[in-house]
């Protein structure tokens, strides 16, 4: 009997543990599910972005990819007037240590330092300016794995769609009807400078959409 309870607890924890990331399980169900339900979270652009620095002009001025990622949301509510969500991104170096560095795939030379996570700059914007720090290049200033940049923050009051006045819209709505509030365009920029060790490095940026109470 004790064994069975132990297995029960273990399996339950293990089953839920796979979601014990920054994108947390939610405790309310006021919005429709984005997987099995009618809400939708689209990444409407290719998932990989390659920065290749092969001449001095690129090292000096950097490389910018504008609109490389577009996120489109369709949020349906189940409980009228109670569906609220947040959107954020976080950086991941595949558990490479030190935790503040990009994951090296190949290194070409010996001199210089491995680039750090705060090297990449991201700019999030849309037509109504709903993202936090809309249209401003930001870095992952915490400079460590799983550092977060919030796009639509929490906690804050429910802001229903349609105002288009720069507030962080976090209620039900759709990019189909309120494109400038439920579409998010993301630019990426890297200005490497000259202190880095030549090589190929990689990170992943996760975008997390999550219902909040």
């Amino acid at each position: 009997m004790k064994k069975a309870i132990f297995i029960l607890v273990f399996l339950t924890i293990a089953f839920q543990g796979s979601y014990a990331q920054l994108c947390n399980n939610v405790t309310t169900a006021n919005c429709s599910d984005a997987i099995a339900g009618t809400s939708r979270f689209y990444l409407s652009t290719p998932g990989n972005i390659d920065f290749t620095f092969s001449d001095m002009q690129k090292y000096i001025s950097g490389i910018t990819y504008s609109g490389s990622t577009q996120l489109r949301l369709k949020i349906d509510e189940i409980v009228p007037g109670a569906c609220k969500w947040k959107l954020m991104m976080y950086i991941d170096n595949n558990n490479h240590l030190p935790a503040n560095e990009w994951e090296p795939l190949v290194t070409y030379g010996s001199s210089g330092n491995v680039p750090e996570l705060d090297l990449i700059q991201v700019k999030v914007y849309n037509g109504c300016g709903t993202p936090f720090n809309n249209g401003v290049y930001q870095i992952f200033a915490g400079n460590t794995q799983y550092d977060i940049l919030e796009i639509i923050r929490d906690p804050q009051p429910l802001h229903p769609a349609g105002s288009c006045d720069g507030t962080e819209i976090n209620g039900a709505g759709s990019y189909l009807t309120d494109y400038n509030e439920f579409n998010f365009t993301i630019d990426y920029r890297i200005i490497p400078g000259f202190q880095h060790k030549p090589g190929i490095y990689q990170i992943t940026i996760h975008f997390c959409l999550e219902e909040v109470p």
Partner: protein, 257 residues
């Protein structure tokens, strides 16, 4: 036991129910390829000619001021050196001999170290160099003052083998200690030099050849001061054979090593 399994199923269902809310995640993988880039821009005539056709040129030598300008851009730490070379790697190549050889004591083997260089600005990253001169920043001594090997070019038959720790570099040196043996990555395009100086990425090179009379090239020598003038090597009363001679100067920019 049945109760326990019932409880298990219940808990699984409960944990499964948590997927019913709004949560989703997308991912973008970012790859950065930092390729090593080293660029050396050189402004110079294809050929720098020294014509000694007057006595004063033999005595006073000929200087070509700022005949070469070097501009560096590099994404990695770097070294820059000059190396003289020729067919033999030791002497100038004689292309033409005048006056039927110039007499019994004339010598066709003019040492490559007869070519003197002067660089501006000095080497800033030579902390661990051991040679008498770490670069070519010493001003040319007056023609009547002996300065054996002080400004003589480093020469080698294998010019792409990096010079030893006791040889002259223009910037950086043999070794890899950061900040001591190599200049940091950067570019002449963006580097801001203190007033009145050049940046670490911009150099002017002056050339001098001082034959003297008789033409023995008195300043020719190694970096340790060993004389290589024609008399020291070939004996008293010898001198350079009149003719046309050529040599090759390579400027090598490489990752700090």
């Amino acid at each position: 036991m049945k109760k326990v399994f019932g409880l298990m199923v219940g808990m699984f269902l409960l944990s499964g129910l948590t997927f019913g809310q709004l949560i989703d995640e997308k991912n973008v993988t970012v790859t950065m390829d930092l390729q090593p880039v080293l660029q050396l821009h050189m402004t110079t005539p294809d050929q720098v000619d020294f014509t000694f056709d007057e006595i004063k040129d033999y005595y006073g030598g000929i200087i070509k001021y700022a005949a070469t300008i070097l501009k560096v851009s590099s994404s990695v730490s770097w070294d820059l050196y000059a190396v003289g070379t020729s067919q033999s790697g030791t002497f100038w190549d004689q292309q033409v001999s005048y006056s039927s050889g110039g007499g019994a004591n004339s010598i066709a083997n003019i040492p490559l170290s007869a070519l003197e260089l002067h660089q501006y600005e000095p080497n800033q990253y030579d902390a661990n160099a051991t040679g008498a001169q770490t670069d070519y920043s010493a001003v040319f001594a007056p023609a009547q003052v002996l300065a054996v090997g002080v400004n003589s070019i480093y020469y080698s038959a294998t010019p792409y083998t990096i010079p030893g720790v006791d040889q002259k570099y223009i910037q950086g040196h043999n070794g890899t200690i950061a900040g001591q043996d190599g200049a940091p990555g950067g570019s002449y395009l963006t580097s801001i030099a203190p007033a009145g100086t050049f940046s670490d990425y911009y150099f002017t090179i002056d050339y001098r050849i001082l034959p003297s009379l008789p033409a023995i090239f008195p300043n020719a020598g190694l970096n340790d001061g060993t004389a290589e003038d024609i008399v020291s090597v070939n004996g008293a009363n010898t001198y350079a054979e009149p003719g046309v001679y050529t040599m090759n100067v390579k400027y090598i920019l490489l990752e700090d090593q």
